[in-house]
Symmetry: D2
Subunit: 427 residues, 4 copies
C-alpha cells in the first residue's frame, strides 16, 4: 500500500496547536541554554536508521511463535512496509536485507521499487546459522569455524554470494553475525576455531569491493551455550585488526553479559577507529530483542553521549556508521514496534545533542562528579519529543506516527490485502 500524504497533513493539522505550544516552550528553554535549535533539528532530521527485512514480521522464541496478520509475503512487500515507515517518520531511508530470505530475483526492479519509496539498501546480512532446504553441508557444528573445510568453503561462498547481491542493490557493507560456538567444555579447541574463522573471513574479505566494509558482530551466547567464537568486543576487535581497514566492529545492544558497560565499549571502538555500527534493541536478561528504549533508556542516552562526543572529536578517525534496528516483535505489531524504536533512538540522540559539553568537560577536568551528573541529567530529563515532532513535520512526516498509524487503520488495510495468516520469511 502507498500512503496518501494528505492524510498526514490532516493529522498534523489536527495536532498542530498543542505541538506548537510544546515546541515553542522547549525552543525557548534550549535557546536560553545556548543551543541552536535549528541546527539540532537538522541533525535530528538527517539521522536515519535502517530497517532489517526480518523485523517486519512477527518474531518468536524457541517455545513458539504467535503470528500477526498482514505480514509481508515477499521482498517487494517488505520494501513497501519500510516505505510506509519512512513516510510516517522520515527516519528510515534504507532497508537491510537478509540472504537467503530476501534474494532479489530482479535487482534492478527491486532497486527501482525501493527508490520509489526513497529507500536505499543498507548492509546485507549472511546466514550461516541455519540449514536451508537445498544446502549440501550442514551448519549443525558451525560454519566459518567448522572443522571440515567443505563446510567452511560453503559458508565462505555464501558470504561472497551475499556481497554480490549487495553490490547489485547498491549496499556498501556485509554484516557477519557468526553464531558459531560450542555447547560443552572440550567440544572444540578455542584457538583453532578462531584460526579457522579468521582464515574464512579473510577469504570473504578478499572479495569485498573497494568501498565496502565488513561488520564483525559479537555475541557471548545463544544459539550456543558454552562458548561463541566472536564472543565479545575484544574478540571482534582482534578479528578486525587482523583483517584490515575494511573490517569494523558491530555492537548489538543485546549481545553482552549482565551489567556490561556498553557505552565504554563504544568509546573503545571509536578510539581505535573500528566502530562499524549498531544493532539497536533493548533487553533485561539476554538477547531479548525488545523495543529500543523500552527497558534501559538511560543506557541508550549514555551510548549516544559517546557517539555524539566521539564522532565530533577531531581525534577520532572512524568511518561512517551503520545504524540499524534488530528487534523481535513477538507480541506487538512489528510496524508499531519499529516506530517506537526509532522514536526512542532519536530521543536519545537529541538528548545527547543538548548536553552542555564545555561545562561537562570543565566538570570532568575538576573531578566534579556532582556537577557532571547534573549536566548529564539535565539533558536526559529534558522532554525533547517536540523537537522530534517538529523535525518530522518539517520533513513531511507525521507529528505522532503511532497515533497516525492507528487512526489510519494501516494494519487493517495490510491484513485485508495480505490476509490474516500471511507469514513473513525469517525467524
Amino acid at each position: 500500500m502507498i500512503l496518501d500524504k494528505s492524510l498526514i497533513e490532516q493529522h498534523n493539522q489536527a495536532n498542530q496547536s498543542l505541538h506548537k505550544k510544546k515546541f515553542e516552550a522547549l525552543s525557548a528553554v534550549l535557546s536560553g541554554e545556548g543551543h541552536d535549535v535549528k541546527t539540532i533539528l537538522e541533525k535530528i532530521a538527517a539521522f536515519q536508521i535502517a530497517i532489517p527485512s526480518w523485523a517486519l514480521g512477527t518474531g518468536g522464541t524457541r517455545f513458539g511463535r504467535f503470528a500477526g496478520g498482514g505480514e509481508p509475503r515477499s521482498l517487494e512487500e517488505k520494501i513497501e512496509d519500510v516505505g510506509l515507515l519512512h513516510a510516517l517518520n522520515q527516519s528510515s531511508n534504507s532497508i537491510s536485507l537478509h540472504i537467503p530470505w530476501d534474494i532479489p530475483k530482479d535487482p534492478k526492479a527491486i532497486t527501482q521499487l525501493a527508490a520509489s519509496f526513497e529507500l536505499g539498501f543498507d548492509a546485507v546480512n549472511s546466514n550461516t546459522f541455519q540449514d536451508q532446504a537445498d544446502q549440501k553441508e550442514s551448519y549443525k557444528f558451525g560454519s566459518l569455524s567448522h572443522t571440515d573445510k567443505a563446510v567452511r568453503d560453503q559458508a565462505i561462498q555464501h558470504n561472497i554470494d551475499v556481497i554480490r547481491h549487495g553490490v547489485d542493490l547498491g549496499s556498501k557493507a556485509l554484516t557477519i553475525w557468526l553464531s558459531d560456538g560450542t555447547d560443552f567444555p572440550g567440544q572444540q579447541n578455542f584457538r583453532r576455531m578462531f584460526e579457522r574463522t579468521l582464515d574464512s573471513i579473510q577469504q570473504i574479505y578478499a572479495e569485498l569491493p573497494a568501498d565496502w566494509k565488513v561488520l564483525v558482530e559479537y555475541k557471548p551466547y545463544e544459539p550456543h551455550f558454552y562458548s561463541t567464537v566472536i564472543a565479545d568486543w575484544g574478540t571482534s576487535l582482534l578479528f578486525c585488526n587482523k583483517l584490515g581497514e575494511k573490517a569494523v566492529g558491530l555492537v548489538d545492544l543485546g549481545h553482552h553479559l549482565p551489567n556490561t558497560n556498553i557505552e565504554q565499549i563504544v568509546s573503545r571502538f571509536l578510539m581505535e577507529g573500528k566502530l562499524g555500527g549498531f544493532h539497536f534493541n533493548d533487553s533485561k536478561y539476554g538477547d531479548d530483542d525488545l523495543t529500543v528504549g523500552s527497558i534501559k533508556p538511560y543506557q541508550l542516552f549514555l551510548i549516544f553521549n559517546e557517539l555524539v562526543e566521539g564522532m565530533s572529536s577531531p581525534e577520532i578517525k572512524n568511518p561512517e556508521l551503520s545504524w540499524m534496528i534488530d528487534a523481535s516483535h513477538n507480541i506487538k505489531d512489528p510496524l508499531e514496534d519499529l516506530l517506537q524504536s526509532v522514536e526512542a533512538i532519536k530521543i536519545a540522540y537529541a538528548q545527547a545533542l543538548i548536553i552542555d559539553r564545555p561545562a561537562l568537560e570543565k566538570a570532568q577536568a575538576e573531578n566534579d562528579a556532582t556537577l557532571a551528573q547534573e549536566i548529564m541529567q539535565n539533558a536526559y530529563r529534558t522532554d525533547v519529543r517536540a523537537l522530534l515532532a517538529e523535525a518530522r513535520q518539517q520533513a513531511g512526516a507525521a507529528l505522532n506516527p503511532v497515533a497516525f498509524y492507528r487512526e489510519s487503520k494501516i494494519r487493517e488495510q495490510l491484513v485485508s490485502q495480505r490476509g490474516a495468516k500471511s507469514f513473513a520469511t525469517g525467524l
Copy 2:
C-alpha cells in the same frame, strides 16, 4: 527395538577385570572411612530419574534446529526409547508425558507397552505456551493469567484434560510450567495477573485426585522478557501455600537469575515441606538446557547434599520427590545425552551419600569453615564411578552405558528402523 540382554552381559564381561579393581579399591577406602558400601549401592540402585518424552528428539533454538536421525515418531517409539535407556542403566523406570504432544489414544495398550519395558508414568505436563492448530483461543497474551476469561477457561480445561490422561496411565502428578508473563513495562498489572492465575490454578487443583500433587514450576524469563507470573521460588511457594497441601514447588536448575544459590532454595522448600521435585539440566547463561553436570558439577553435588541431609532429617515433613531430566539436545544424540545426564545425577547423589555427616555437623557447630570444606571436598573429590557401575551391574545394566550404546550401534539401528529424517514431536 528391544535390547538383547546377553549383549550387556558380554559388555560387562569384557570390562569386568578393570571394573573389579576399581570397585575394590574404592570399597576399601569407603569402608575405611566408615561407610557401608552395600547400603550405598542399594540407595544408588533405587534412585530412578524420569525421562520426559520431549527429550528423546533433537532440540533447537529460536535460530534453528538441526535434526538427528532415528528420532521416535510416536508415543510408542518414545516409550521404546526410554525402555532402551532403562535397560542400559536401570535408572529411569518412568516417562513423563507432555500433552498434547503425547496424547495416548489407547491408554491401556500404552500402559501395557510401558510395563513391558518395566516403565511407569511420572508427572504429566500441560502446555499452554503454544497454540495448537485446532485451538479456539490464542495464548499469545497468556493462558491461566489471561485477561480474557474465555482463554483462561480453555487453559484450565486443558489442564484438567491432562490430569485425566494422567489418571488413565497411572501418573500421580501434574506439572504446570506456566510461561505467562509480559515483555514490556506496563503491559499488565502484576497483582491482577497473579490473582487471575491463582483463581485458574485453584480450579485445576479442585480436579486433582486425592493422591495427586500439582508441581508449580518457576522461571524468571523466557519466553517473556520483562516479567513472568511465577518468576521465582518465593512466588512458587506463595502459590503453593494459597493452593493447599497437594501443591508443591518444582525446581528446574536452569530457571534462576545469574549467581543464584540454588541449594539454599532447595533447603528452604524442604524446610517448608513444599519441595515437589526437580527438572535437571545444566547451564552457563540462562535456561541453556545442557547435559546435567556438564557445566557446574559442584553445584549439583551441593544440591544433593541438601537433599540427602533434608530427606533423612526427622524434622522435615516433605512428600516424596519427582526427579526428572529436562534438557534440550541440540547437538548431541539425545539418548547419549540422557545417559550422561543420569550418570552425572547419580554421581552427585553418591558423593552426597559419602559426606561424613557427623564430622560435618561438628565442624558446623564449631564454625570450622576449613574443616567443613575439607569434609565436603573429600566426598566430592572421591571418584565414585565404580559404585555406580557396580550398582548397574548388579541390576543387570551395563558397566559403561555410553560405550555399550556405541559398540552396539543402537543409533544406527534406530535410524535404519525410523529413517534419517524422522522428527519427534516437541520443540
Copy 3:
C-alpha cells in the same frame, strides 16, 4: 550551622522568571491531559524521605576511604546536617539512627534539637555485622543465627536496646539488616541457620511496642559470599509471616541478583500487605550504593508506578511505608549526593503520578502492549522538574537546592566549623 532562610528567598527570586515559564508550560500540558496540578503538587510536597545518619559522612570500599571535609563529628551535627537538607528541599523531615554509632546520651535534648529543625526520627537500625571495641562475643561467624547461644543472646539484647533508644526518640520501627551468612559450601546448615534466626527475631519481636514495626531487610551476598540467611524477598516474606503482623519486608534497591525485576517484587509484597519500606540507592553491579537514579532511572519510575498504583488500590491492605535513602558517598559531597537522590526519587514519584491510569488499565485489558508502553513512556518522558521546584518553592525551600548549596558555600562553612579532617562515625 543554621540556614538563613532569606538566602533561599533571594535564590528563588533570582530564578523565578525561568521557573515560572517552565512551570506554566508544564501545568498547561498536564491540565490538558486531565491532571489536577494542585493535587499533584500537594502529593509531591507531602512526600518525605528519611536520611540515615551514616550517609552524612564519606563512605568507602574495602580498598580504602577518601575522606571529605566538614563531616559531622557527633549526633548533634548529623541532625544539623539533615536540618540543612530539609531546609533546602523540605523533603526530608526525619533522620534514621544507627546504633551504636548514634547512641543518644540525652534523648530529650536530642529530640528537642531535632524538633528545632522540624525533624523527627524514622526507623532505628541495629548493627550486628561489626564487633564493637567493648563487645564480649564476636560476630565473626554470625549474630542472630550464630551456633552459640551466648552470641545470639548478645545480638538479641542489642536489638532490644536499639528499640529502647528508638522509643526514647519517638521512632516507630526497627530495621534489621542481618548480614549473617556463610562464605563456603558446607560451612553451616541452611535450615538450622534459618531456625536459629527465627527464634532470635521472635524474641526481639516480643519486645516491640504495640505501635511499632520491624523491617526485615534481605540481601543476596556481601559481606558473606556464599549464602545469606535472609537472601531474597521470598525469605524475607517467610520470616514476616512466621513473625506476625508487625513484621514487614524492606526493599533495598541494591540487594538483588543481576537482572531482577524489582518492581514485581514490590507488587508481591504489597499484595501480601507486607511491604515495610525502602532503602533507596542505585547500582550497576551489586550493592554499589550510588546516588539514587544515577544509573537506572526508568527502573525507579517503574517501582513508583507499583507504589502509586498499589497504595491507592482499595484491594491493598498494607501499612504506611518507611522511605529512606541508603547510599555510600565515596567520591561526592554527601549533602550534594543526598540532594540529588531526593530529587531523583521525587521525579520518579511525580512521573508515576501522571500516568494515565484509566487508559493504562484499558490497554492492559485489551493486551495492547504498544499503547501501554506509549502511556508509560509519555509519563516518564515528561520533564516534571518544574513541578518539584514549584512544590519546594511553595514550602519555602529552594528552587534549585544543589545550585543554592554551592552558591551559599555551605560545605566551605562546614569545613571551617568542623575542620577539613573531621570524620563521621560509620562505615
Copy 4:
C-alpha cells in the same frame, strides 16, 4: 618459627599405609590409560604458586574485619609464614610483595632470609588505590589516569620505586592493578582516561629492566561502580599491544562479569602470546576472593585444560607465566586457606595433565561432543589427590598439609609468639 622437618616425617609415616594403597591403585589406573605417572609427578612437583604477602593476614569487607591471632607483624614474619607453607607442601617457593606495605629496609638481609626458606621473590605489586599517610597528592579521583598531571606523576614515580625495590630482591615483574575508574555516568571521558593511563604506563614501562615484564590486570568494577579504565581482557590486551613486548595480561579469576567464559579468555591471551599470569581465587558473585576451587572447581579445571594444551603447543609463543594466589581470608585461618588453595590448583593441574589429548583432538575433529565430554569428565572425575600427596612426600613435604598443620598446632605457636591481637599490614 622454623618447622622441625622430622615432624613431617612422622606424619608421613603415620599416614603411609593408606596413602600407598591409594597411590598404587591410582597409578595402576593411569598407567592402564597410557599415562607416564613419573612424568606427571615431576610436573606436579615442579609447579610452584607464589604467595602474596597480603594474604597472610585476615581480610575484611567494607562492613568490617574480624582479625585472627598470630598474624605476621613484619615483612620478616610474612616470609617466615610463606616458608612454613613451603615446608608443608613444597609448592610455593616465592612471595609476591606489595609496596608500600612491604618495603624492604635491608634488601640484602631480606633476600637472605627468604633464601634460608628456599624462597624467591615473584612479581612486585604497586598500590595507587589508597592514600598513604605521608602522600602529597590524593588518589580519590584516580592515579595513573588522573586529570591532574601532578597526581599521575606521583603514581608513575611510585611504580618506578616499586620496580627498584623489586630489582633489589630479584623480582622479574611488576603487577599493576589499576583501580582507576568512575562511579557516575559523565564523570570522566572514557577515551581521555585511557589515553592518560597509556601515557603513564608507557613512562613506567620505559623504566623496566630488560628481563622484566609488566603484568596488566583488568577488573570490571570495584572499587569504582560505573566504569574501570582497564575493565576487561580486551582493554588489557589493547594496553599490552600499545606498550610492547614486555607487557602481558594478568587474569584474576574474580575479575569478570557474571557468566564469563574465562577459559576462552585464557586461550585468546595465549594465542596472542600475551598471557602474563594469574591471580587465583574463587567467587560466586563478584570479586569474592574465596579459597581457590571452593565454588567452581570445574571451571578451574577447564582453565588448566587451556594452559596445559596451550603451553605445550608449538604454535604458542607465550612467555613464562606468573602464578599467584590472591584471596581474602575473612573467616578462615589464612595459612589453612592458602594450603587449601594450593591443593585445589594442583588438583586442577593434575586433572588437566591426564586428559587423553589425542582422543580429545579426534573427538573435536569429528564434532563428537558426547565423546569430548566423556574424555574431559574422565580426567576431572578421577581422584588425583594421591598423585599430589606422592609428589609432596617425594619432595619432603607433608602427605596431608592441613591435617599436619593442625596436629602440630602451628597457629597456636604463632599466636603465642606474635600475640592474639597482632595485625598484618594490608587490607
